[in-house]
């Protein structure tokens, strides 16, 4: 019962199909940092990848740009990228250093990072850096490039863009630097913008500004956005769709309203009950955190990754990996509770009827 997100539609920009990412090191066994991730990015929409540190969300994003270290490989899966020229490229098969990949990177797919200083050169003015991007990918002369740069800086809300173009990154505040980086990422009108924790290092008011900006730019440019964050509040602000990751697995995915309204995976539910709610004293409830800590990927159960900390874990969980189970049109979760008629009953989950189901769970893909 693989849920059918509306696909094969011409707005689909990128499809991750069953992508796994493995890191090898000389001393230790290989580590599967990401297990069979599936998702679709659509033009004009934002998918948020959310999870705690070490869940593989950044690795997934970097894989799309093939920015991983040499010891990482993609043993299975396809990353189908269709920028609309009728062609579909499987990014997973490209050589990270090839011309084809370089023409995608920074041109059709751009990325912004948590710390702008890491992607801006400290010895060039921001204007010069954006000019460079434009000259590299577009057929413009220097003057034209500068005009475009200033236009971009204005578009991302940098006051006094003409003068600020001649500023060095260290002369700008954190918020302005982040805006400059966004301008640089947008220099070539990318089809996809990957934002890796772009607001985590910022103050709340600046964060709100940047989120507003990203939202309006996404609409203006009609691009798809992959937004990586650990903050469920930010997800609720910006995402259309959300994918919750835990220890390399996407455990739940779906429309942001559905997922927040009725989370179906115990991990998502636990995550949501870990954040303090904005309530009055009288309605205040004690937080209900997940017990224990995230195990090392080496010790991940072969079944559901969350088994060791799941309050509802039962017999098949440790050994058998649950299949994605649709619970509503645009919403699925990987959890045995949703398929196994023998599973313990949990309030709020859409579970099979006890009499109904025939076979308990559907095969083991690992």
């Amino acid at each position: 019962m693989m849920p059918q997100t509306p696909m094969a539609n011409d707005k689909t920009l990128l499809r991750m199909e069953d992508v796994s990412i493995v890191f090898s090191s000389p001393d230790e066994a290989d580590i599967e940092a990401v297990r069979q991730v599936d998702f679709t990015l659509t033009r004009g929409k934002t998918l948020a990848l959310v999870g705690e540190s070490g869940c593989g969300k950044s690795v997934t994003a970097r894989t799309i740009l093939r920015l991983l270290d040499k010891n990482a490989r993609i043993p299975s899966g396809r990353i189908l990228f269709s920028p609309g020229d009728g062609e579909t490229t499987d990014i997973a098969t490209l050589n990270p250093d090839s011309t084809a990949m370089r023409s995608i990177r920074g041109n059709k797919i751009s990325m912004i990072f948590q710390e702008p200083m890491s992607s801006l050169s400290p010895v060039h003015t921001i204007g010069a850096q954006i000019d460079e991007m434009i000259l590299l990918h577009e057929n413009l002369d220097k003057k034209g490039a500068r005009a475009r740069t200033i236009e971009l800086l204005e578009q991302v809300g940098i006051p006094g863009a003409r003068q600020r173009a001649d500023a060095y990154p260290f002369q700008l505040s954190g918020g302005l630097r982040q805006r400059a980086m966004i301008a640089m990422a947008l220099a070539c009108k990318p089809d996809l913008l990957i934002a890796d924790e772009p607001t985590t290092a910022l103050d709340v008011t600046t964060q709100a500004q940047i989120l507003d900006l990203l939202r309006s730019l996404r609409d203006e440019f009609g691009m798809a956005m992959l937004f990586i964050t650990h903050d469920l509040g930010v997800v609720a602000e910006i995402a259309d769709e959300v994918a919750v990751m835990y220890l390399g697995d996407v455990v739940e995915q779906g429309d942001v309203f559905d997922v927040f309204k009725s989370p179906q995976h115990p991990y998502t539910r636990a995550l949501m009950s870990s954040i303090p709610r904005m309530t009055r004293r009288a309605d205040r409830q004690r937080l209900n955190p997940i017990q224990g800590t995230v195990p090392s990927p080496k010790n991940r159960p072969s079944g559901c990754a969350f088994t060791t900390r799941c309050p509802h874990a039962f017999e098949p969980c440790a050994a058998v990996r649950p299949e994605p189970t649709g619970t509503s049109e645009n919403h699925w979760a990987r959890c045995h509770l949703l398929t196994d008629p023998q599973a313990p009953r949990v309030d709020g989950l859409i579970q099979p009827k006890v009499e109904g189901g025939s076979d308990a769970y559907q095969g083991d893909r690992t």
């Binding site: 469920l232 927040f260 709610r277």
Partner: protein, 345 residues
Amino acid sequence: MTALLEVENLTKTFSMRSGMFGDTITLDALVDINLKVEKGETLAIVGESGCGKTTLGRCIARALDPTSGSVSYTPEPGKTIELSSLSKRELKPWRQDIRMIFQDPMSSLNPYMRVFDLVAEPLRIHKLARGAELEQRVVSALDKVGIPRDALQRFPHAFSGGQRQRIGIARALVLDPKLVIADEAVSALDVSIQAQILNLLEDLKTDFGLTYLFISHDLGVVNYIADRVAVMYLGHVVETAPTEALFERPRHPYTEVLLEALPIADPTRRAQRHEAVKGEIPFLGNRPKGCPFHTRCRFAEDKCRAEKPELRPINGGPTYAACHFAETIELKGAYDDAPATGTYA
């Protein structure tokens, strides 16, 4: 009721010299701060980076020496010690009572000391216990924070962020403090771990009658844990109020801005949002005249640009705000009156 801690007219000025022969720039990190911390309450200090909340915490703990003003500590009625005037030696006994928890659990634990020594160090410094008693007190402190005995001989890097933070809390607790200053104590942690630590802090408060000065930028956490809140902006306290009052109806426009900007984990509330506040926090050395917030305030008038508002009680109530128009302006709170949408409300 007497306040456990009272901060009066506290000012902290940093001077920086640019280069060897350059001019000296002075930065007023804290301007004339007045605060009271009542025994047994949790007072949260909130604000964005550079607002002075960390400096305030460190001046109270005397990790920094205040430039002027006083910090007085009243451990029992009728016995008040003015901490800010004590010498390092005179201060030492009071360091047992006022303890600090740091933000970064990685850098606040000495990487070359084992857990046992880390927690035993304060006891050794104050010569409070030795031998078997020392061991027993260390173990019991670790026990309170949920660190098992077999961790004693390990180095901090063998622990996850949440566990390291627990060890940091044990270091604070081992001296049986009265006041704990928690400086962004949960900010560096993942949400699920953050929730564990928040629960732990709450339990410890109840069990040991602690008073917290909880420094944080996260208003969601503050709403959850604090009894009273002080909002800081550019080295000033702009509003103090009981938590519920502050979140229900803020009296300073900056408080509203902070509440507005707070991302709430509920997509249905997106639509209710104003546009984010314009502009950036000014540089400390370039503090605006008059009200420090007037450059970004949507209510700013000429009076705000000319005259600095004092922190004063609003409508005689427990709320204090430093705004000329605190009584009249209509500000939006953070609580949502619509019924909670999530199953996990």
